[in-house]
């Protein structure tokens, strides 16, 4: 018997020993970061960057496959006991000696996860991790000239790039409301002092928003540069238009952070994505009834919110709990009780 077959036999036997749990349920108690475990990480330190941003040092589990500069990672953090998932750019270089990775998080107003990470996260906390992903990365072949165009927390993936690979000719234009809001400001200025970077800071509180046409003056050779841009949608839209107009669109690489903006309303268009049905629903009819009326086979039970026999994934949009009025927004892994939830705006139910 091959060793792989032997190991699989041994594992089967172990499963018989631990049934109905799995061996991993016990192993997780002692070694949650081991190879073969669900990917997790442990927060080892939290370093403040600005008044509202912090860098989180994470020791990833053994299953971590590393990242490419510019990629992001989804993390699952328990905030007030509820697991919430968000994506953050990796800001550490790929060759960090101690194998740790960092993300840098800016606390956004009312942001549950970002405020938790920046202000309350404690070293030692376990978090859930996905493998790094994203195609906002540097090419194999080194470009001769590089431009990084960033705003706000859009600097985070670019910082991962800056720390990872040195280029001969790098220019950065970065926008932030005020000097003290510039994340990594000291490090950027060190790079400037070492002549590794030319930097223009645009302080939007005093200078106003960056007019993309000003690039001609700030970076005269911008059109010759391979450009990576990350920031709010307005900036990226303007950049894409500008680069297209000048016929150099292929030199521009953009990354959009997609904060899920859900406007919770009263009723809306409900999509049952598995069956491909779409119907209008009011804000008072349980989604279970809406689905059944549309001819969708819905799991059901007590029909009063007590048996949890109807829970179904909410893929997009928002729903309102008809008992408490509480709004639940779609996030990966979110399940809702369709018998006591109504559409709060357009939503997508996996059925």
């Amino acid at each position: 018997m091959t060793s792989a077959a032997l190991r699989s036999r041994a594992w089967k036997l172990l499963e018989m020993v631990t049934t109905p749990l799995l061996p991993s349920d016990y192993l997780d108690l002692v070694s949650p970061l081991r190879a073969g475990a669900d990917l997790r990480g442990r927060i080892e330190a939290v370093h403040p960057e600005t008044g509202s941003a912090a860098t989180i040092v994470i020791r990833p589990g053994r299953g971590w496959r590393g990242h490419t500069a510019g990629q992001y990672v989804r993390i699952g953090v328990d905030v007030d006991g509820v697991r919430l998932w968000r994506a953050y750019s990796v800001t550490s270089p790929t060759n960090r000696q101690d194998g740790r990775v960092t993300i840098t998080v800016k606390a956004i107003p009312d942001g549950k996860v970002s405020n938790h990470l920046v202000r309350r996260a404690k070293p030692g906390t376990l978090i859930q991790l996905d493998q790094a992903t994203g195609d906002f990365v540097l090419p194999q072949a080194k470009p001769a000239k590089v431009l990084y165009l960033t705003a706000g927390s859009g600097i985070t993936p670019v910082m991962g790039m800056l720390r990872d690979i040195e280029f001969d000719d790098v220019v950065m234009v970065h926008c932030a409301p005020q000097p003290q809001d510039v994340i990594f400001r000291n490090e950027l200025h060190d790079l400037v002092a070492d002549k590794k970077l030319r930097l223009t800071e645009v302080h939007t509180d005093t200078d106003g928003m960056l007019d993309i046409a000003r690039l001609d003056e700030l970076v005269p050779d911008w059109a010759e540069r391979e450009t990576w841009a990350c920031g709010p949608a307005g900036l990226l839209d303007a950049a894409e238009e500008h680069w297209t107009e000048h016929g150099v669109r292929e030199r521009l690489h953009t990354e959009r952070f997609r904060p899920s903006i859900v406007v919770a309303g009263d009723g809306g268009e409900v999509t049952f994505s598995t069956t491909g049905k779409t119907v209008d629903a009011d804000g008072a009819t349980p989604l279970l009834d809406v689905g059944e009326e549309a001819g969708v086979l819905m799991p059901s039970g007590c029909r009063m919110g007590i048996c949890f026999g109807c829970v179904t994934p909410l893929k997009a949009g928002a729903v309102r709990d008809l008992r408490t009025g509480e709004i639940t927004e779609a996030e990966p892994g979110v399940l809702i009780q369709t018998c006591v939830s109504a559409a709060a705006g357009p939503c997508d139910i996996e059925r």
């Binding site: 036997l13 018989m16 020993v17 631990t18 049934t19 109905p20 749990l21 349920d25 016990y26 108690l29 328990d78 007030d80 006991g81 509820v82 697991r83 919430l84 039970g301 007590c302 009063m304 919110g305 007590i306 048996c307 949890f308 026999g309 829970v311 008992r323 408490t324 509480e326 996030e331 892994g333 979110v334 399940l335 009780q337």
Partner: protein
């Protein structure tokens, strides 16, 4: 269905007001639910797993009597924790709000021969929705006992103390059979129903795994302690079964608990539903340890009002619920475990014998009772 309706003094408005007050209690807990609660269930799960590991470890040497005693006691407690405070409550969706896929009503499986999803249907859906409604809630007598004076007596009921005792010893099998509605489905025609057969196969698989683990694999791993480990796991299962059966009997069987007719729940309002839960359940009083070991089902009344609130909050909720019982002049049935167990068993014995014909009896009700 006692001759005197203990809720007769309440007006319809009062019942709805009671419902609103209970909703407010629920909302308060939900608004306050958070990190501490999550930490609590994680801690309990972790403690249960460690206790089970250590106990099974000790049982490897169960050929030595002290090891047998310690291991058996530990394993019994671990199995009780798994079924009661952890399994029962997670399967109720009490911890779904954490969005942790590992501690979720849709993924949890317990150390029990009834597969979690089947139990959820019969328990969460049938029992909790139709609590104590004769003919709808199979928990009432589990289909083998007469639990109310108004039910028609049959010579079969003479044996019900014995049936109940056997059911207590093999309770998990009783539950599995009951989830399958075995009595009803054993008729030839129903036996062939593919849906029933699929469910029966699932139970078969679960039983095989559980039996293999407890009575083959772990004894074999113990080598020379094979027989003593086997005896230990058998004992632990027996202890767990008798314990859970006793706790559950205390929930709806003691004297003073009401049962309801099927007709009475037609068009039931939220307030009336709450009221039925209040009158159809009974508590066990006792220490924190007692509440914990019953999976907080000692707060059966609170659990039936709010089956999806985290169990660790029932104790604080109970204070407010009890105040409502007083305010609305209703009887809050509670007592220490021995008293409640005695009361429930007393009823089992009493109703094994025929009683005088109930005073009020409409033909239509007679039919219902036969159906039950």
């Amino acid at each position: 269905m006692t001759a005197i309706d203990p809720t007769a003094h309440l007006t319809a408005e009062q019942i709805e007001e009671l419902g609103r007050e209970l909703d407010a209690i629920r909302d308060e807990v939900i608004a306050d639910r958070g990190e501490k609660d999550a930490a609590y269930i994680r801690k309990v799960i972790s403690a249960q797993r460690k206790l089970e590991l250590v106990s099974r470890g000790v049982l490897l040497f169960s050929i030595f009597p002290p090891a047998w005693l310690i291991g058996t006691a530990g394993l019994s407690v671990a199995k009780i924790m798994d079924n009661m405070e952890i399994g029962h409550n997670i399967l109720h969706g009490q911890w779904d709000w954490m969005r942790d896929p590992k501690i979720h009503s849709t993924t949890w499986e317990w150390d029990h021969v009834s597969p979690a999803d089947q139990w959820k249907h019969s328990h969460n859906e049938l029992h909790h929705t139709y609590t104590n409604v004769i003919g709808k809630d199979n928990d009432l007598g589990y289909g083998i006992m007469r639990v109310d004076e108004d039910q028609r007596w049959h010579p079969f009921h003479l044996g019900q103390p014995l049936w109940n005792f056997i059911n207590a010893c093999f309770f998990e099998y009783g539950i599995a059979a009951y989830d399958l509605e075995l009595g009803k489905n054993l008729h030839k025609r129903r036996r062939k129903n593919p849906e029933f057969r699929a469910r029966a196969r699932a139970v078969g698989r679960k039983i095989r795994k559980q039996v293999l683990k407890d009575y083959v694999i772990h004894p074999l791993l113990s080598g020379p302690s094979f027989l003593t480990t086997l005896a230990a796991t058998f004992t632990a299962n027996l202890v767990r079964n008798i314990w859970t059966h006793s706790v559950i009997m205390c929930g709806h069987f003691p004297e003073g608990v009401q049962v309801f007719e099927r007709r009475s729940i037609k068009g039931e309002t939220r307030g009336q539903w709450y009221l039925r839960q209040m009158m159809g359940s009974a508590n066990i009083s006792g220490s924190k340890a007692m509440h914990f070991m019953t999976g907080n089902l000692s707060h059966q009344i609170e659990h039936h009002l709010f089956p999806d609130l985290p169990s660790n909050r029932y104790a604080e909720v109970a204070v407010k619920v009890r105040a409502l019982f007083e305010k609305y002049e209703l009887e809050y049935v509670t007592g220490p475990l021995p008293k409640q167990v005695f009361s429930a068993w007393h009823k089992v014995f009493r109703l094994s014998l025929p009683n005088k014909k109930p005073k009020v009896n409409t033909p239509d009700r007679e039919q219902e009772l036969v159906a039950a």
